[in-house]
Amino acid sequence: MRLTWLRTPLRIIAWMVYAALSLVIVYGVYRLIQFKGATYFFQALLDGLRLGFVYALIALGYTMVYGIVRLINFAHCDVFMVGAFSSYYAITSYGWGIVPAIILAMVVCIVLNIAIERMAYKPLRNAPRITALISAIGVSFFLEYFTALRFVFGADFLTYKRPFDVVVWNVLGLSISNITVIIVAVTLALLALLLYIINRTKVGKAMRATSQDATAARLMGIDIDRIITLTFGIGAALAGAAGVLYAIAFPQIWTFMGIMPGLKAFIAAVLGGIGNIAGAVLGSLLMGEIEVLTVSFVPFGSRIRDLVAFLVLIIVFLVKPTGILGEPQVEKV
């Protein structure tokens, strides 16, 4: 690069911007605490964290699939919805507990997402990328409207009955419910399992290798079709669990319930750097916080919460399109 001499000053400017940003954030937090009290602030922070954890489970599916096949799986948010509904039936019709219900949702979603990949994406693997994207949008509409038919899930809002009684504890002035505990515990357990698979197992390393260089991965004897299936399966399992967790937190479900959380999780994945696993988690936690802090502190916050999510997307595209942890992508030939 001929502009190497620019790098040091640019780096210094970047650090100054980061320092200024940190100061703004610290000052903002101080003002928010002053505004409505520390308890109110930390309660919002906790709620944001809880929402962010659910987004993280969804965002991972977007980002992992993108990492392997370079496709935004628009149907992912509907897989999440199907997860919520399958647990609904297991709980209301068969009286299942929360853990079996989550496992059922994960299994149903795995099967569904793998079927979607086989039928809607695999035949288009060598077609221009836009074709698969259109196919994904089609699958998404199909799932939303087909499941809204009377003989499937129906078009009405259903009230999700939690398979447990809500208990709220008071810890240092903050109210923490068992819903929050379940969400945090399940998410952390699934994240730990995911990290173990990706970093320690042979097949997880093969997934990373495939996302870095698919041709080289094939030359190692890695069966790419299997890796793709596995990736869609893992993404779906996380989305299925997220569907249940979302439903116990916001106990109203309908077949279009996936759209907004799905979009926000997608934005979170872009914010963190699409294709980057740590980025998806970081972006999701930020999105959860941004959303809940907006609702808690901005006038009419609950009406503009969705708007703010899109604002984040626009800012990311303007400031750093590769996201926080993403690296500049070199388009491969």
Partner: protein
């Protein structure tokens, strides 16, 4: 029967006919080189042998087994390993993980560790950088890693695509002496090179490709002495 029998191979990228009927063989234990100008079809030949590309016509037989309908992973399992042009190591896997990926088709941990030790004895520098990310290695180290990774599947036939590309002369010497050494341990090698002089000096036989056809073939020493080859590929005559 030759180890690898490529006969009348035609390969196209859409309308571009990259290979127009090439025929060559590799014997057990041989180093055979394919030389030729840019775009002659050398990499295309290797990609077709590995199963990344499907021929329009012709066949590739490995020990009598037709490879042209076989998937890439099956071909690797049969004992053919390719070190692709431009190295294509996994930039965000460590050196160790890159080597592990090379052994993806194998199961026995002890045997895999043995192979890794053998790679380290050829390329001691890789051992020093075991936990470094592949993308942070120097060009020469990346080439060593790419070759080491290719050896981790314990191939019978190793396909090398321009291993000297972008390396300093001393390193080229080193890489080529290691190629000879690998061959002396019983691995047959198909070597694709721009550096014709080097390639012909380590190979037993060679083929000269020109726009998708075999223009010349013969013993490496005969090709080295051939005035046409000298003029076109060795910058002499």
């Amino acid at each position: 029967m030759a180890l690898l029998d490529v006969s009348d191979l035609h390969v196209a990228y859409g309308a571009i006919k990259a290979l127009q009927g090439i025929t060559f063989t590799i014997g057990e234990g041989e180093i055979v080189t394919l030389i030729g100008a840019n775009g002659a079809g050398k990499s295309t030949s290797l990609r077709t042998i590995s199963g990344l590309l499907r021929p329009v016509q012709g066949s590739v037989c490995f020990r009598g087994v037709d490879l042209t309908r076989m998937s890439v992973d099956k071909i690797v399992k049969l004992g053919i390993s390719q070190v692709p042009e431009g190295r294509q190591i996994f930039p965000k896997l460590t050196v160790r993980e890159n080597l592990e990926m090379g052994a993806f088709t194998r199961r026995d941990r002890n045997e895999i560790n043995d192979s890794m030790e053998r790679v380290f004895s050829s390329f001691p520098r890789l051992k020093e950088r075991l936990h470094q990310l592949g993308g942070t290695l120097s060009g020469g180290e990346q080439q060593m890693l790419a070759i080491g990774r290719g050896l981790m599947s314990r191939p019978t036939l190793l396909l090398l695509d321009e291993p000297s590309m972008g390396l300093a002369p001393i390193l080229v010497e080193e890489i080529f002496s290691i190629i000879s050494q690998i061959n002396s341990e019983g691995v047959s090698i198909l070597l694709v090179e721009q550096n014709a002089a080097m390639a012909l000096s380590v190979a037993h036989r060679g083929y000269v490709l020109e726009t998708g056809k075999v223009a010349l073939q013969g013993d490496a020493s005969a090709l080295l002495a051939n005035p046409q080859v000298q003029e076109a590929y060795l910058g002499e005559g």
